[in-house]
């Protein structure tokens, strides 16, 4: 069976416990395996190249030593290897849409329509699996690389097994088919999954005389075993016309097959009615068999025995059924058509025992299906978790069953509950993938207990290669009020921009994060640049700060200082002077910048027209004295000739301005 190939032997390629002691660290999606220096000394073993040979587990070496004897390896072991299979990306993406639809559909509907909705969801999941299987099959057929072909074929069988299990769970748990319809559903299930009979049918029908074909009776038997009566009768009619001697026998058998009562999907008949009719029909078959009607034709006789539910006769067709669960359904069809869900376990167990007959032991897939027939939902999920190489299957199936309200009582002794535990595992796998991380976000959103914490941890680890990607990550965080992460992303981007000398970009990132400290840092860079070059860079940004100017004092100062320059440039001297003074008196300007500001006042003081009023001039003087007196680096001022000259020039200019303004104001008042 398909699943046997997929149990990964838990070997980390390259990690050799016999050579070195190993230690482990478990992460959300990955396990770190480290070689330690404990126990055996390093010896002279050089690190072996690993990774390329990793087959069972996707392992990669995070860092190897330089070949020195003491070097050791760290292996990154991923727990969800299927995440990395390219052809499965379709499965992950399409099922994500279905998952989201299911979360949205929350219980608006009641009773029957809710059940119909859930069954539809289940069918949608299965159709995605099937579509993926077809793609994979196509890929296997079209590739010439035998290794790749093998890989694809393995994937096809894994997908096929997943769909088989899912379908059975859909019948038993989601739809919870009741006695009667249950059998019909199981028949569909067998028809869909067991032995591809169509090619055999085509071969027989396309031959010149079908009834002479060596596979003729095989095909008839397969139809009968699967309860496909109309098709079986159609084929048999060919035999009858080719062989008039058996006409009578044929007519009787055909009549029996036609009359066989089957459960109906609607409520047209009660179970008791069906059982009655069935009893009657059964007795009729029994009569024909006993009076030797079919004695001359072993094929027809065997079919009649099958109709009677003769276990030996059915088991004789073992080769045609290929699996014990086909045998189970055939047996139910002909012996217990009104089987109740809870009785399934007995028939399933005995069918498996009879079919395998002690020759072979059940395989993982058999155990999973058996657990389903026993209605041991948790066992199904547990076995699937162990056997399958992905979390996709159990996470989605468990979520669906949880929406069917089938798992509520079950809480784990760790984490929250099984649904959430599995969703977290699956989502963590998505986050470890280069491209699929966006899907992971939505899954974590639907994990009420730990989803948020996981998201916070994962989202910070996404590499921000472009601004566009950063914006997408940022949007995810902002929508969820993850302020801490918003700040950290913006800071990373602002730092990057700063390193690239993109002050404008850096500033807009810190404005977005409302990161005042960083905005101050960048503003200082702008001011430093200004002091060095004598002109502003990035005017288009600074002139357009708008309300964001208020984010930090320094940014406000930067904006206002630039405004001063604009006013000055536009020769609006009075306004410029007032603004300049305010920058100092209102302590908007950092002290370190006062000297620059006072120097900026010089040309205003030197204007032909008096600009600063007496009061303003006094204030300027006080600013200058505060600066020179209060400055702890007074020593520096005295050492520095340029600075001293500047101060002297300022004092002179201020005194002259004061003289002019007193005269002017006196004149104005006097007149």
């Amino acid at each position: 069976t398909p699943l046997t190939d997929t149990v990964p032997p838990q070997v980390v390629p390259g990690a050799d416990p016999s050579a070195r002691q190993l230690c482990f660290a478990w992460g959300p999606a990955e396990v770190l395996v480290c070689e330690t220096l404990f126990g055996r000394a390093g010896g002279f073993r050089s690190p072996r190249p690993v990774g390329a040979t990793a087959r069972a587990l996707t392992g990669s070496v995070a860092g190897t030593g330089d070949g020195a004897p003491s070097s050791s390896c760290v292996f990154v072991v991923r727990r969800d290897q299927d995440i990395y299979i390219h052809t499965l990306r379709k499965l992950f993406n399409e099922s994500h849409g279905i998952f989201m639809g299911l979360q949205r559909s929350e219980e608006e509907l009641a009773g029957k329509s809710r059940k119909a909705q859930l069954v539809q969801v289940s069918k949608n999941y299965r159709s995605v699996i099937r579509a993926c299987m077809e793609d994979m099959h196509q890929a296997a057929v079209s590739t010439r690389d035998p290794a790749l072909q093998g890989q694809y074929s393995t994937q096809v069988s894994i997908l096929s097994a997943m769909e088989l299990i899912w379908n059975l769970c859909e019948i038993l748990f989601v739809e919870a088919a009741t006695a009667g319809p249950l059998l019909l559903r199981l028949l569909d299930w067998v028809r869909l999954h067991v032995c591809d009979v169509d090619s055999m049918v085509r071969e027989v029908l396309s031959s010149e005389s079908p009834s002479k074909h060596k596979l003729f009776w095989n095909v008839v038997d397969v139809f009968v075993l699967q309860g496909r009566m109309d098709e079986a009768r159609h084929l048999l009619s060919k035999e009858a016309s080719a062989n008039p001697a058996s006409m009578n026998m044929y007519k009787i058998l055909d009549d029996l097959m036609k009359k066989m009562p089957v459960p109906s999907l609607g409520n047209t008949q009660t179970l008791t009615e069906l059982e009655l009719k069935w009893q009657h029909w059964h007795e009729e078959c029994q009569r024909y068999l006993q009076d030797g009607t079919f004695a001359s034709n072993p094929h027809m006789e065997s079919i009649c025995k099958i109709l009677l539910g003769d276990e030996d006769a059915i088991l004789e067709k073992k080769e045609l059924m290929t699996t014990w669960y086909h045998f189970l359904v055939t047996r139910l069809l002909y012996s217990h058509p009104t089987v109740k869900p809870m009785e399934l376990r007995f028939y399933a167990q005995s069918s498996m025992d009879l079919f395998l007959g002690g020759e072979s032991s059940p395989e993982p897939l058999d155990m999973i299906l058996m657990a389903a027939f026993e209605f041991e939902m948790h066992q199904v999920i547990k076995e699937c978790s162990i056997v399958l190489s992905n979390w996709w299957f159990v996470a989605h199936l468990t979520d669906l069953l949880d929406h069917c309200k089938l798992l509520q009582s079950h809480n784990l002794y760790f984490g929250s509950n099984m649904r959430e535990f599995l969703l977290l595992e699956y989502a963590s796998g998505l986050f470890s993938h280069h491209s699929l991380w966006q899907l992971g976000v939505d899954y974590l959103d639907h994990c009420p207990e730990f989803g948020r914490v996981y998201l916070e941890l994962h989202i910070e680890r996404i590499p921000l290669s472009t601004e566009q990607k950063a914006l997408k990550v940022l949007r995810i965080c902002e929508q969820r009020q993850m302020h801490e992460q918003v700040r950290s992303i913006c800071k990373i981007m602002a730092m990057k921009a700063l390193r690239n000398n993109r002050l404008g970009s850096a500033l807009s990132w810190s404005i977005r994060a409302k990161d005042a400290a960083f905005a101050t840092l960048i503003s200082d860079r702008f001011l430093k640049d200004y002091c060095e070059k004598g002109c502003f860079s990035d005017l288009d940004l600074i002139d357009n700060l708008g309300p964001s100017m208020l984010l930090s004092d320094r940014l406000t100062f930067l904006g206002k200082y630039r405004e001063f320059h604009r006013l000055y440039g536009e020769k609006r001297f009075a306004e410029a002077a007032r603004l300049l003074l305010t920058l100092m008196t209102a302590h908007i300007a950092p002290c370190s910048f006062w000297m620059t500001l006072l120097t900026d006042a010089l040309p205003l003081l030197e204007q032909k027209e008096v600009i600063f009023s007496a009061e303003q001039t006094y204030e300027l003087m006080r600013c200058l004295e505060d600066l020179t007196a209060g400055n702890p680096d007074k020593q520096k001022f005295q050492d520095d000739d340029v600075e001293t000259t500047k101060v002297e020039m300022l004092r002179l200019a201020l005194a002259r301005n004061l003289a002019r303004v007193i005269v002017k104001e006196g004149t104005v008042e006097g007149s």
């Binding site: 993406n93 966006q438 472009t466 566009q468 000398n501 404008g504 970009s505 860079s537």
Partner: protein, 375 residues
């Protein structure tokens, strides 16, 4: 209707979708489109056939999903993409490189024709000169203009090895998109909510005009110009807002229309039917904005089930032009907008419209083709 939309999951996140332009006076609908992917370890440029034309049904509806004709590996995320002519596509990369790919239709292959390596780059203080993402490209054969995260504007000619013109530090913030206003003028949008006009004839490295959003300087991500009335410009912002600008007057948008709940990644006027406009967004929606009819005579295709339809009042400030996009005439003052993708969750990164056909691509790794937009 949704049934007219064919979808294909392509196992790569799609950042751009573009119809191949039709030859002049072509009567058939477009049949080929190109896609570019992002955020994959291995990114690709792919050429798709939109579906089998031979399978057209009696009513003219098409069946069959898009199928891949050829593809080629692309270094870095595809940030933007534009057909130069029917055979050549210009692609902007997150590595800063701009490449012209050639689609050989005779043997269905793609090849790189020409490449401007690191057309966009940073000059860091401590890092060496590294590529900066090229965020936008626009073509007017043979001219190609690109913009990037480095705030640089490049003008290339398809037949020349070196840039014809480069404006370093054209913008102190990130330039997100570019389009032609006239043959010698371009429009750019940036991350501090500004729309700028650049006259490439002038040697000055300054924009000839700056428009900006009031209040919070919400970043602008996309820009398109009305195909017939060149003074009407549409932009889309980080908050999902659609802004309509009349660049003949004022410095602020004429109207702000709210539809998307997250970044608007692309905006396109319908090239031949500019009463219709299409926008797509990070929030997973794709809106069709229709000003062609007043409410009393809505075309029937807007009434189909499964869509949410809303009417928006047009908050106009200016009405001197007789254009549906600028008008605030009370009888025409309504615009019908329709979300073409209900229940989508992941971002729609790109769309393109041509004739009756719409193509769009998503982060859910699917491409969608709607061939009966106006059915």
């Amino acid at each position: 209707a949704m049934e007219d939309v064919s979808a294909k999951f392509v196992s790569q996140k799609i950042s751009r979708t573009r119809w191949r332009p039709l030859p002049a006076a072509a009567l058939q609908p477009p049949d080929l489109f190109a896609t570019g992917s992002w955020d994959n370890e291995d990114n690709r440029i792919s050429i798709w056939s939109a579906g089998d034309l031979g399978n057209a049904g009696l009513n003219g509806e098409y069946h069959g999903e898009p199928h891949l004709l050829c593809d080629i590996q692309h270094n870095g995320d595809v940030m933007d993409m534009q057909f130069l002519d029917q055979e050549r596509i210009v692609v902007a990369s997150s590595t800063g490189t701009v490449t012209i790919f050639h689609h050989h239709q005779n043997n269905q292959t793609l090849s790189a024709d020409h490449q401007w390596a690191k057309a966009h780059y940073h000059v860091g203080q401590d890092t060496s000169c590294g590529g900066a993402a090229c965020t936008g490209v626009v073509c007017n054969n043979p001219e190609i203009v690109t913009v990037g995260e480095d705030g640089r504007i490049n003008l290339f000619r398809a037949d020349q090895k070196d840039a014809v013109r480069t404006i370093d530090n054209a913008d102190s913030s990130t330039l997100h998109a570019v389009t032609f206003l006239r043959t010698t003028e371009i429009l750019t949008v940036n991350s501090i909510g500004q729309l700028k006009i650049w006259d490439l004839r002038q040697q000055r490295n300054e924009p000839s005009q700056i428009f900006s959003l009031a209040g919070d300087r919400v970043p602008l991500h996309c820009v398109d110009r009305h195909p017939n009335q060149q003074h009407i410009v549409a932009t889309g912002g980080q908050d999902g807002m659609l802004s309509i600008w009349d660049i003949r007057q004022g410095t602020m948008p004429v109207s702000l229309l709210n539809a998307h709940e997250a970044e608007m990644w692309e905006v396109h006027f319908h090239p031949s039917d500019p009463d219709h406009l299409f926008t797509c967004s990070e929030d997973g929606s794709l809106w069709h904005w229709d000003t062609s009819t007043n409410v009393s005579e809505k075309p029937s295709f807007l009434h189909q089930g499964g869509r949410s339809t809303a009417y928006l009042s047009h908050s106009t400030m200016n009405q001197s032009v007789v254009s549906a996009w600028l008008s605030n005439d009370p009888t025409k003052d309504r615009m019908e907008i329709t979300n073409l993708i209900p229940n989508q969750t992941l971002s729609v990164n790109s769309l393109d419209v041509l004739g009756p056909c719409l193509v769009y691509g998503t982060d859910a790794e699917a491409i969608y083709v709607n061939r009966q937009l106006f059915a």
